[in-house]
Assembly symmetry: C2
Homo-oligomer: 204 residues x 2
């Protein structure tokens, strides 16, 4: 949709150029798969723009690796070698965040999630990345592991030009209110309903 025509022009005093370049808060929610996958697809576009990409995977085990992680790590190495695209950082909660010195246990998820959010806050304040993927971050919000009001106000007041994509089911209503773009993925048909098992290259 390159030539998207706005349905209304707000009286916000911004020029078209400023409005075009406004950083977005994006939420992918709903019951169906595709939320994270679409977020990583969007991150591909950001990588191609040369933005610094920061992925933060909440909840999932550090042992669990999706194919996108390998592909983005390859793109990050390509950037280092050739200058193509942008740099990539990929962090997982699992057994403790990679920047943390303490060994993780996969037992205290609440503390790990809070630590992950604290790091993201620091990075947002420092304008560390052009695009953040906070994968499955709706769950720490839902479960009270991070403070919803703190998340929403931090995101609303983030400086500079930083896009943030948050994925997961049951997005908090305050997050939806704060977001610029919210998509819900709905299941029409899923192979597991017909007895199909998850498979390599599709489910991970």
């Amino acid at each position: 949709m390159p030539q998207g025509v706005p349905t209304a022009v707000p009286e916000d005093g911004l020029t078209t150029r400023q409005r075009r370049n406004r950083p977005l808060l994006v939420v992918h929610t709903g019951e169906m798969k595709g939320k994270s996958t679409a977020a990583f697809g969007l991150a591909l576009r950001g990588w191609n723009q040369g933005w610094s990409i920061g992925v933060f995977q909440f909840v999932k085990s550090a042992k669990w690796k999706v194919g996108e992680e390998e592909a983005f790590r390859a793109l990050g190495r390509l950037h280092e070698q050739t200058g193509e695209g942008g740099p990539v950082e990929w962090h997982k909660m699992g057994t403790g965040w990679s920047w943390s010195r303490k060994a993780g246990t996969e037992e205290n998820h609440a503390a790990d999630a809070a630590e992950g959010w604290a790091e993201i806050k620091r990075r947002l304040a420092a304008e560390a990345h052009g695009l953040y993927v906070l994968d499955e971050f709706t769950y720490p919000m839902k479960w009270g592991w991070v403070d919803v009001a703190d998340v929403v106000s931090t995101l609303a007041e983030r400086p500079g030009h930083q896009h943030v994509i948050i994925t997961g089911r049951d997005a908090h209503p305050d997050l939806v209110d704060a977001a610029d773009l919210v998509t819900t993925m709905t299941k029409i048909k899923h192979p597991m309903d017909a007895g199909q098992k998850g498979q390599r290259g599709i489910e991970w």
Copy 2:
């Protein structure tokens, strides 16, 4: 969803392993953005498995390039250089398919779409790719540029282990019936509703 539990086990005589590895026909439809982006995200997983990735973009102008194209071309080059991931081919209808010797005009889209589908049929018969993205292919189906019954039967009878992802609004009911996995992307909120313009790295 690594440990997905089927809600029913079909009496199809297949082993779990056979069922796990059954190639999928996936449809991403609905009014909202994210359909193609999620397809390319899924293709990242396939690339990481070492599958040959074939992308066929219908309708969009050849001049129009999404960030994913650059990123996948970079991944394809990486594969050629290091053996990581799988090979990538990216074809666009626009001003004529890249395999076609005749110069395109961007005027006879119906003939171009039919030619694209004929090539995809040849490749499916030859088991040329592990994963096909037929981007915006619902429109040639809807507009009668390709024969829906031919598409559905060809896909149903495709040999070997080839995954196919089809994107676009208004997926034909026969395609939905034939598909294993159908997701619809629904808009909850879009920045263009608030006067936001499309922007680099997000819309393309």
